[in-house]
């Protein structure tokens, strides 16, 4: 069977599949499935589950796999089998813009004590303002942006250390 690992939210799921003569055998964790599978084109396929045919489309892009099932879209990240299953998810000690945009206002300075949920940055994207808040209580130890700066998504802009006392 072919084995693929996908990062879905915070967890990594292993999917084993084997396609032979229009019959697909698949395993996800303890779930086992045998079903009819018909590839329709480059990206499209029909999969029959419990008697209903589902139209699916799959496209890959830079390690991401976009999959639509009857118009419902899911995004998975493909993980190589030999890649270490390390820490997953955003750093809870930093604040990053969720999308590319422009910093409108930096509301804290290095050394400031911040409460969890306190606004620290206002970022503008798509002509809308978005307030970014401290993920935790702590001290601002680094500031990686200034007012007016263009920022990329996911780059840490404010780092916060846990308050020691």
């Amino acid at each position: 069977m072919n084995t693929k690992n996908f990062r879905v939210g915070g967890e990594i799921l292993t999917v084993k599949t084997e396609l032979r003569g229009g019959i697909l055998n698949a395993e996800i964790g303890s779930s086992i499935l045998q079903t009819a599978f018909q590839q329709l084109g480059q990206s499209e396929a029909l999969i029959t589950i419990e008697g209903k045919a589902h139209r699916t489309v799959v496209v890959t892009d830079q390690g991401k796999v976009w999959a639509a099932v009857d118009g419902r879209v899911f995004v998975f990240e493909e993980v190589n089998a030999d890649e270490e299953f390390g820490a997953v998810g955003a750093n809870e000690n930093s604040v990053a813009a969720p999308m590319p945009g422009k910093v409108i206002k930096v509301m804290v300075a290095v050394g400031d004590l911040v409460e969890e949920g306190q606004p620290v940055l206002i970022v503008e994207a798509m002509k809308m303002e978005h307030t970014l808040r401290a993920p935790r209580k702590g001290t601002v130890i680094a500031l990686q942006c200034v007012d007016g700066q263009q920022v990329e998504a996911g780059v840490p802009l404010v780092e916060i250390a846990m308050k020691e006392n």
């Binding site: 890959t60 118009g71 999308m99």
Partner: protein
């Protein structure tokens, strides 16, 4: 009729206007920023003019560049679409001063109605009901606080020059006033170049019901019935329909007459929309007039059987309105779903990126107004609207069922979209019961997270099988999707070569 018209916009509305031009035998000229060189509206026009850098200020908001583009391509008129400069009287004046024709209301009417403060005053004087509120020329926090106390909390802060939810804040209590006012002013300044804001009483669980109006240059003004646009996120509409389930024939008549009175009070010409809030008890308040073609105009077109954009051209060229009030009828029901590049499971966070795969729905009663194409990115710089899917049916239920089916067949991969979310909205019990108040999404869909666990499992299995073949090159990857077509390689091209 005009021979050549500049379409001063982008995306789906530019495409819509270009199509209207084609039906009237007008040659459409597109404009584009560096981010839109491959965009659909550029491909559909006869000629396209590069404006400049992606930032709106360097491109779609650059009045001088737009006028230059119109002049050097031999255009006689300019259609502004919606958003960008559509409701900027200064742009209308610049167009007129350049000897071109403005496809829209006179600048004086835009000034009056585009200014939410001045229009409230005019409409109150004309006897049209307005929401209790306060406006002031000076942004004095203490004055605002005192007036807010009189109006009562919660209340709304809105941009005087505003629209589309930009520069708008809900204030629950006095302590939040300062931050809300400065945020609203900043956003208003950024979006409209005008930081003035005003206060308005918060009407609890209202419906947003608007009337399409049309006036010609011969003094005739009519309405083309209502649209209900109550389902909103961030105060921006996502589902619109007509007729509204909330209107009785009597209420429809009263509101229609108020809408026409509004048009006449403002000296209005061309297409416009009078927005009302309708409270639980069937009392309606004038909200504002949008002095442009609306995003949701197709639902009116489907139910009334008209082409509003083509009519804009006819009326501007001096023709009388094509319809008399007493011959207009509502036939069946139409619903529109707006497809935005946003993640509904993450607070409708706007997204941008390459559109790796796109399939648009077809079928009886289905209309798609789209501004995007597969293989071309959704830029980060503009409003993230991708398309609108509109369904018509003989009644509300059949229109909703057609739209649900259509959204199932709207498949866009590469950026998250609102399609799947809106499908669940349309299939929900509260929607079926017509309980569409403006807090609909917060009330019923706050924790929406996408497909079911079963769908996810199916997606994982299919992803595993299909991405297997990615390595053998059978699957469409971002690279193959991005192979440029001859049109894209041409870049800034011109047919006819008229300078």
């Amino acid at each position: 009729m005009f021979k050549r018209v500049l379409v001063a916009n982008r995306g789906e509305i530019a495409v819509r206007i270009i199509r209207a031009c084609r039906t009237l035998g007008i040659s459409p000229v597109a404009v584009y920023s560096e981010a839109d060189a491959q965009a659909l509206h550029v491909r559909l026009a006869d000629t396209a003019v590069l404006l400049g850098a992606p930032e709106p200020g360097e491109s779609y908001l650059a009045i001088d560049k737009l006028i230059d583009a119109a002049k050097k391509t031999g255009c006689e008129a300019v259609h502004p679409g919606y958003g960008f400069l559509a409701e900027r009287a200064a742009f209308a004046r610049a167009v007129i001063e350049a000897g071109l024709t403005w496809i829209g209301p006179p600048p004086e009417a835009i000034d009056l109605l585009g200014d939410k403060v001045a229009s409230r005053v005019t409409m109150a004087k004309a006897g049209i009901p307005v929401i209790p509120g306060f406006s002031s020329g000076e942004p004095d926090l203490e004055v605002f606080r005192a007036e807010a106390k009189k109006i009562g909390y919660p209340l709304l802060i809105k941009a005087a020059a505003g629209g589309g939810g930009k520069g708008m804040r809900i204030v629950q209590e006095p302590s939040a006033m300062e931050e809300a006012i400065s945020g609203a002013m900043r956003e208003a300044q950024g979006a409209f170049g005008d930081s003035r804001v005003f206060l308005e009483k918060w009407v609890e669980q209202p419906r947003h019901v608007e009337f399409q109006i049309f006036a010609d240059t011969h003094g005739e003004a009519i309405h083309l019935f209502e649209r209900e646009c109550s389902i909103q996120r961030r105060h921006q509409k996502v589902v619109e329909e007509t007729p509204s389930v909330a209107l009785t024939p009597q209420l429809r008549k009263e509101m229609g007459e108020a809408a026409v009175a509004t048009a006449k009070a403002a000296g209005y010409v061309n297409a416009g929309t009078v927005e009302f809030l309708l409270d639980k008890n069937g009392k309606f308040y004038f909200l504002e007039v949008n002095t442009r073609i609306q995003v949701e105009h197709p639902v009116t077109e489907e139910v009334v059987g008209v082409d509003l954009v083509a009519e804009q051209f006819r009326v501007t060229s001096g023709e009388r309105l094509s319809w008399r009030q007493d011959e207009l009828r509502q036939r069946g029901h139409a619903i529109e779903a707006r497809i935005y590049a946003e993640d509904p499971a993450a607070g409708f966070l706007p997204a941008a990126g390459p559109l790796l795969y796109l399939e648009e729905p077809r079928g009886p009663g289905i209309r798609v107004e789209s501004g995007v194409i597969e293989g071309v990115g959704v830029p980060v710089h503009y409003d993230p609207i991708m398309a609108k899917v509109i369904a018509w049916g003989p009644d509300r239920l059949s229109a909703a069922r057609r739209l649900i089916l259509a959204l199932e067949h709207y498949v866009a991969l590469g950026v998250p979209t609102t399609a799947s979310f809106l499908r669940d909205v349309l299939a929900s019990e509260p929607f079926a019961r017509g309980e569409t108040q403006t807090d609909f999404i917060d009330r019923h869909f706050k924790n929406w997270s996408g497909g079911t666990e079963k769908d996810k499992q199916t997606a994982l299995i299919v992803a595993a099988v299909m991405s297997q073949q990615a390595k053998t090159g059978k699957i469409r990857t971002a690279q193959t999707a991005a192979i440029p077509t001859p049109w894209e390689i041409l870049g800034s091209w011109r047919i006819g070569g008229r300078q």
